[in-house]
Assembly symmetry: C2
Homo-oligomer: 228 residues x 2
DNA sequence: ACCTGAACACCGTTCAAGT
DNA sequence: ACCTGAACACCGTTCAAGT
């Protein structure tokens, strides 16, 4: 718990053969992220938690990014899609909420979105579920792709901004930001935003945006019915 | 160009007194980012470009994050808001396009959004411009805040996903991603997305999403007129 | 006041060696 | 096949010293 800075115990210096399995590494990585945040996930710290030398990890993963991808995949596979509901639109709402909280709770996924050189399982699964809902509503594929893209981009934006929750409700931070604005007189209407207390939580704004997009989805569905 | 690994020139080893000004550091940082990407912006490389020892930078900026913030502010102040137009909605469209390209061209801003513990000039300025447009359309402040938030979150999402442009048009990457999906049969409708060639560019999807949100803005404006 | 070298505590990773 | 110590080329930053 306290002593031995470098070597764990002089007695059992070398870890036995089967100590390390990819799943254990991924599990330890997720624990580390949950406890101290993504930026504290480090090969060194990860190895220390597994009571193993840093280099051992490289037997199981090519590099750190591979570990990160495995983490993301694991997090996604643990996630269960909401149950089927009476209304397709209600189902879609649930999926979107679940998507938001998945991204907010696991910033790794967001980071992978930003880095992403390749489609990863997260988005493919969700895109599919969303697209499937729209399809079942009778919306044609082209419009379906457009609408699901809009929804996905909107959640990503929401998730990226979500952590500001803490200071966004503090009007002082807005004032400080306003003071830093270069040409102050050019931007007058922001005062309307900051005058009263900002009354909208991140969750409220998410729901509001969802309704905005859903309004267009309803229109699309109506016109799909009309064409038929 | 080639030789002298450590010292620039044995003759003029120490830089004269007035060599360094904050603006120069910011300028050099922007050049570095433009040339080799954000991840290659390093105190060491920045100092080398300025022909100065790394530690000199700390006379002018508290730490690297302060430099990054100054970079973001500089980038934003160079940006000019689109000209006023006949239609407020057309103005709004222009602002949104400008916002997207600002974020796509300068990923630092996106990164600051993600890190952001405080409101920064970028968003305040844009939020204001967007909110101002909605206000001029006669939309009430509450709805205005909601709609501008939706718009902002949507652009951020678009910008984050935009770099995928390259591989997104390659159907093979989708297939590879699909193969990695854990419970394959649960997600059938993605095939609809991947069967034909994916016909939508990032720009097209951005415009489509914009129209979806604009549809709701039009409704809000209409009802604002009706109430009056 | 401004610039700097040496040093520190970290990174991720390669390589050759152990078992 | 799996684990490892030493070493490498980097990070950002502190500190005491130069001018």
């Amino acid at each position: 718990m306290s002593s031995s800075p470098t070597k764990p115990t002089p007695g059992r210096s070398r870890a036995p053969r089967g100590t390390l399995k990819p799943d254990m590494i991924v599990k330890a990585a997720i624990e580390l992220i949950d406890e101290d945040g993504l930026e504290s996930l480090t090969i060194g710290r990860l190895a220390k938690r597994l009571r193993v030398a840093p280099m051992s990890l490289y037997t199981h993963f090519r590099d750190k990014e591979a570990i990160l991808l495995a983490v993301a995949t694991e997090l996604f596979s643990h996630f269960e899609m909401p149950e089927d509901d009476s209304s397709d639109l209600e189902m879609l709402r649930k999926i979107m909420r679940a998507y938001l909280h998945l991204l907010v709770d696991n910033p790794v996924l967001l980071k992978l979105y930003a880095a992403g050189r390749e489609a990863n399982p997260i988005e493919v699964g969700f895109d599919d579920a969303i697209f499937g809902c729209l399809e079942r509503m009778g919306i044609d594929p082209r419009t379906g792709v457009e609408l699901s893209s809009t929804l996905v981009r909107f959640v990503i934006g929401c998730a990226l901004v979500y952590p500001r929750k803490e200071w966004e409700e503090d009007p002082r931070s807005w004032n400080r930001a306003r003071r830093r604005l270069p040409p102050t007189e050019t931007y007058p209407s922001i005062r309307e935003l900051t005058r009263g207390e900002v009354p909208f939580s991140q969750d409220h704004l998410f729901e509001a945006g969802l309704e905005t997009i859903f309004a267009d989805i309803r229109t699309a569905r109506r016109s799909a019915r009309g064409d038929h």
